[in-house]
């Protein structure tokens, strides 16, 4: 991690709280690491040993029951922060949904550095508060929304977050994008089965609200209507 200046997420990740000399000090503690699709960075229940910034790619945070049901409890995009600073075991696993690149730190080294840099902690606090708000919106989805509302919400959310985190400088959202996950993972995120996900996507396609050129691609043809479905309006 020699060259933070060239880092594509330099100005959006928590690093943006730091001055150049502080950044240089932090960079000595971490290193870049590739994570290939499907590879698990942190196991659910393990002691929290590392934290990281996402540089490229998309990863999932997930929880499982003993009998194998899985729930994805978070999805992280470039510039997002991963991990549980300040002690504790990780209550969820972290697995790459696409090939990814992260900037990784041992938790203890990061904790120590964070304690000395209030601005960094402030940034981290803001991010955590945002993440909590997002988790709570998702609780509404899981507890009260119908299958079609869930699918519509997911498509809007991915379009927005790929737009905001992607390299595209201005787009607030994307109307064509690649899903960073397969149908099973969409189900695990939405609290649905793979079959229901598939049926709802077909329904949206038949209503000409979206197009599905191939398994992974989505084109939003009528964003207004999709938003209406998502918000149950």
């Amino acid at each position: 991690m020699s060259d933070c200046d060239a880092c594509v997420v330099r100005n959006r990740a928590i690093c943006s709280a730091l001055m150049p000399d502080e950044l240089a000090a932090l960079s000595k503690l971490g290193r870049k690491q590739m994570v290939s699709r499907g590879q698990t960075l942190v196991w659910e229940g393990d002691e929290s040993l590392v934290v990281a910034n996402v540089i490229q790619g998309v990863l999932k945070l997930s929880v499982s029951t003993q009998d194998g049901r899985e729930q994805i409890v978070g999805v992280v995009f470039p510039s997002d922060f991963i991990g549980r600073p300040f002690g504790k075991e990780s209550p969820y696993g972290v697995t790459a949904l696409t090939d990814a690149e992260v900037c990784i730190f041992t938790r203890t080294a990061f904790d120590g550095f964070a304690k000395e840099h209030p601005d960094l902690q402030h940034k981290l606090l803001q991010r955590t508060l945002d993440e909590l708000d997002r988790a709570r919106q998702w609780m509404m989805l899981l507890g009260r929304k119908t299958a079609s509302e869930r699918i519509a919400t997911l498509l809007i959310e991915i379009s927005d977050r790929l737009g905001a985190s992607g390299c595209s400088p201005i787009a607030p959202f994307l109307e064509k994008f690649e899903l960073p996950m397969d149908r099973q993972q969409m189900g695990d995120l939405l609290g649905l089965t793979i079959e229901t996900v598939s049926r709802q996507l077909t329904k949206l396609k038949e209503a000409e609200i979206i197009e599905l050129p191939d398994r992974r691609s989505v084109i939003i043809k009528d964003r207004r209507r999709l938003e209406n479905i998502a918000t149950a309006a």
Copy 2:
């Protein structure tokens, strides 16, 4: 809020990060306020104008759809922190489930104070991280658990949190307690209807796992079995 020394949550709320003189300064910014059952402290979507510590009582954080479905996205107990510091509108409403007492601050005053006191922010960060973990566990419940697993989980959770936050000095959990909410609110928290909540409670009663002396009271007779149901073991 003249006398923080006498405050029952002094050592558990975020105030515990402060030295006596700092605490005195903070106390000048806030005041105690009673909130009676059913009263709303913050409306969903309103600009975030206040934050608070809970001294007594229990409050809910909730989100609604346009057509009136409600999801409770958080429940706060004594010593917990309420509100969305550092800008933004509140994405959820805050309403008292029982008569409550809070120690309230304007958000701007609190933000200013927090910026000058890294230890306070650190404490707040830890709390927010814990809250996020709890929200994510609840996402698993809402997305993947059955009705009976949900009810069992809720009873365990309330027993634990009343035990930890209550005045009882040692009890890690309570085997007899008052529910701080009615059946409708249990449903809104679990993503179920009032009827399903009622039926599942009756089932647990008939299995002699719990007793229900009156509408609001619960006695856990067989905690082991209840935990097994909660974790889907």
